[in-house]
Symmetry: C2
Subunit: 207 residues, 2 copies
């Protein structure tokens, strides 16, 4: 992470503590990340400047540079946070229940205003190493969180012990994101149910 020039007191890699309520530092962080997402939704990644984010969040530009180091590190953290906050990793007691919640979380995320623009831009600008790093950060966080669902399902005997957690998450997620890409079909509950059924058919142990 030091390659991005972040401070040593930055967020640790991997699952980020969600409950950092209270304290000026936490308030600044939240204000900056919210302002970042608002700016991206309105102007795209290309149009985002640290100066605009600072003005919108009511903090000094230097605060942002000291904490995040770069524009793209800032965007990466804001989007990863967006996908994680309010979306605790499901733990319903069954693989089906957990996959259903995961799929609903993805559908909600995809449907947010500004997300199409954000996702599209990260693909369009993926030749840019900073954008590629931000995208990588986002997806690794998604896969890492979701894999807790797979680990618990293996413990319950619902998935084989040698299951490829990432492949299961891919099977569940791909059709949802594909509809974001094609753009003409809704992410309704019938479609979500089909994604869950297909994932169970392809990966779950026969009962």
């Amino acid at each position: 992470m030091n390659q991005r020039g972040r401070d040593v007191d930055e967020e640790p890699v991997g699952p980020v503590p969600r409950k950092r309520t209270g304290g000026r530092s936490a308030r600044v962080r939240e204000a900056v990340l919210t302002a970042t997402l608002d700016q991206v939704a309105e102007h795209g990644i290309e149009g985002l400047t640290i100066g605009d984010v600072a003005a919108r969040a009511g903090v000094a530009e230097t605060t942002i540079y000291r904490r995040w180091g770069s524009r793209t590190a800032l965007i990466a953290e804001a989007v990863t946070e967006l996908a994680a906050v309010g979306n605790p990793v499901p733990d319903t007691g069954t693989l089906r229940g957990d996959l259903r919640l995961l799929a609903e979380q993805i559908a909600q995320l995809i449907s947010r205003p500004g997300i199409a623009r954000l996702v599209g831009t990260t693909i369009a600008l993926s030749a840019d190493p900073e954008v590629a790093a931000a995208r990588h950060h986002f997806w690794e966080d998604r896969f890492q969180r979701s894999s807790q669902v797979i680990v618990r399902a293996v413990e319950r005997g619902e998935l084989p012990g040698d299951v490829n957690a990432r492949a299961v998450i891919e099977t569940l997620s791909a059709p949802l994101y594909f509809r974001l890409l094609v753009g003409d079909e809704p992410l309704g509950s019938a479609f979500i149910a089909r994604c869950v059924d297909d994932t169970l058919t392809l990966h779950a142990k026969p009962v």
Copy 2:
């Protein structure tokens, strides 16, 4: 189509005849579509102007306006053509063989330089009605062509008569395009084989 201001001698909607070799009109069309793709690959959809395409193709701007009417109609036709030319609809005699070829064609298309930028931009700018129309045109063409594979498989008894052709194509395509989106994993032959196997598992009739 008239809403886009095209001429009456334009390409018909639906499957486009591929073999329009010979003739100045065909040569102009090919030069313009090739120049369009080159411009998009280098400068993105946002950076494409009819003037630049005309200069690159060695034709008059008015020729392009008369034939395609708009920047986006031009891009839509160029990309649809890119995906279709050199990629005849597979007809190997088995559903497995056809799905394998389709998946390989998609993997090759996704791996082309400039495609990430193009796909990303169509998502990012999907709020623009012209971009949305271009995207719609591209995907409808893809689904329509591919559905011939499904129709033949139903005739051979490999798929149930009430199969949803679009759902089969979605199952096959979604994981491939998802990897374009995530960006960190290759589209190798093992992955392609898994996409085909999964599609057959989920949709084919039990033997």
